[in-house]
């Protein structure tokens, strides 16, 4: 992947949950950063007076980082989340370091082991499977 891997992220600016890519080995491993600020619009309501990065958005950030490891230009969707654990609260001022490693795949499916760390401590972890959309290709379950 040439240039800034972030430029390949298909998400619009309003739904980007990673700010910067600091390590990138195409198809293998990515490390991305997300700075959590009080200005993040979703923190206004989650929760009023007690801003807390929603676990599902943390997972979204982990998914977006993993998606950068797919072949450039791929259109992919979330297919599976396993063993997701949220270990500590993520709040404004925190910098989340997301480390995703591709661990196997089959056909259109790609599996990633992903960690989110704040100050070196594990904030969340999950196994994520992304399905690359290939027009006209059916899954194994529907194969003749």
């Amino acid at each position: 992947m040439e240039g800034n891997p972030l430029s390949h992220l298909p998400h619009g600016v309003s739904f980007r949950f990673i700010d910067r890519v600091v390590e990138f080995i195409a198809g293998e491993r990515v490390v991305a950063l997300k700075n959590v600020t009080g200005n993040d619009p979703h923190l206004e309501g989650h929760f009023p007076g007690n801003p807390l990065m929603p676990g599902v958005l943390l997972l979204e950030a982990m998914t977006q980082a993993s998606g950068l490891l797919l072949p450039a230009g791929s259109s992919a969707v979330l297919a599976q989340v396993k063993e997701a654990r949220f270990r500590s609260a993520v709040v404004p001022g925190d910098q989340i370091r997301i480390e995703s490693v591709r661990r196997g795949g089959l056909g259109a499916l790609h599996r990633f082991e992903v960690k989110a760390l704040v100050d070196g401590a594990l904030a969340a972890e999950a196994e994520i499977v992304l399905a690359v959309a290939v027009p006209g290709r059916e899954g194994l379950d529907s194969a003749g």
Binding site: L106, G107, A108, V129
Partner: protein
């Protein structure tokens, strides 16, 4: 061979959490599709990873997976053909 098939059954039961369903099928029952166990492509990936970990066999691509993962018997035959198990 029967011993390998039995280990494949245990893999299906534990890794895919299908203990009950696995008891009710034969070694020849299709694992995919509406006439069989009804596994999907995500189950296939899980199974491929499980086979690699448990038996040290690698299912390279989707075409191989379609053939190898057809039934418990075809999986056991593949493991044996790779000199594993």
């Amino acid at each position: 061979m029967n011993e390998i098939a039995q280990r494949v059954r245990i893999l299906l039961a534990t890794r895919l959490k299908l203990a009950k369903a696995v008891e009710e099928i034969t070694d020849q029952t299709p694992l995919f599709g509406p006439l069989g166990l009804g596994l999907d492509s995500i189950d296939a990936l899980e199974l491929v990873l499980g086979l690699e970990k448990e038996f040290g066999v690698v299912v390279e691509d989707r075409a191989t997976a379609v053939k190898v993962l057809a039934s418990i018997q075809t999986i056991a035959e593949f493991i044996q053909s790779q000199g594993k198990g």
